[in-house]
């Protein structure tokens, strides 16, 4: 069975139920489909910018995975990491439900072989 790339309805319900009301950073771990996955993701990345800006989100960090120094083996199989700050969970929901965003969302699915999408709560002062 292929890895889950998109949250399902249950995940989104949990996402809203676990809302503490504050801002958060989405940690994205991305493994591209061999061949044109990276190119497709770059295209998605370019198109998603305006949607992020519209809901007040911004990229905190983006990086390409390089040397692994320590890790359980299965956890090192990603190509890229992206950390994106959203002002609220509501802002994220607004983006992913937007009709224009839904038109570009398939690009992300076509680009990825595997992904981790993980909400993180910033530690104050960091």
């Amino acid at each position: 069975m292929p890895d889950k790339i998109e949250p399902n309805e249950e995940d989104l319900k949990r996402f809203v139920a676990e809302d503490d009301g504050g801002e958060f950073c989405m940690l994205n771990m991305l493994k591209f489909i061999p061949g044109d996955g990276a190119t497709k993701y770059a295209e998605y990345g370019e198109k998603v910018m305006e949607h992020l800006a519209r809901v007040g989100a911004e990229a905190v960090y983006i990086g390409q995975l390089a040397t692994t120094l320590a890790a359980p083996e299965r956890d090192t199989e990603y190509d890229m990491i992206a950390l994106v700050r959203y002002p609220s969970r509501q802002a994220f929901m607004e983006m992913v439900m937007n009709e224009e965003y839904l038109k570009i969302a398939p690009l992300r699915v076509e680009a990825l072989e595997s992904t981790v999408l993980q909400v993180t709560i910033p530690v104050p002062g960091s």
């Binding site: 949250p7 040397t67 320590a70 359980p72 990491i81």
Partner: protein, 131 residues
């Protein structure tokens, strides 16, 4: 037991794969139950002057919350920290420092599992300097 510290082989590879320039270390941390988080905080506080001395700084520190997608199907870590170093040499210098080595065991004592993964900074839509 899960590997928490790089071996000398890992450090060799780390230098061989050095493309020059700054890098950001992705730390994913699973604390030991009963006090691991507090022990790690103690380590982080003591590590801060060592990071500063070699020109490293925190980019982000966060607690893991809702998991929306993951091959494991669950959140396997407690915290994430991104730390920017000016060079791989800077990290090497820090971990070889006898004063740092006196506190390194606190980190190991606090963790059940960890990912220590070097990343090369890029720009947003997913473009990177040529490797």
């Amino acid at each position: 037991m899960s590997k928490l510290d790089p071996t000398s082989e890992d450090i060799k590879r780390f230098h061989m794969e050095d493309a020059g320039g700054p890098f950001v270390m992705l730390n994913l941390l699973k604390f030991k139950p009963d006090g691991g988080a507090e022990t790690y905080s103690d380590y982080a506080e003591k590590a801060l002057p060592h990071l500063r001395r070699v020109g490293a700084e925190f980019v982000y520190v966060g607690h893991l919350s809702t998991m929306l997608a993951s091959p494991a199907g669950e959140t396997e870590y407690d915290a994430v920290a991104l730390v920017r170093y000016p060079s791989r040499q800077a990290l090497h210098e820090m971990i070889m420092d006898p004063e740092y080595q006196k506190i390194a065991h606190i980190r190991a004592a606090s963790l059940d599992r960890a990912i220590l993964q070097a990343t090369t900074p890029g720009t947003f839509p997913g473009t990177f300097p040529a490797a």
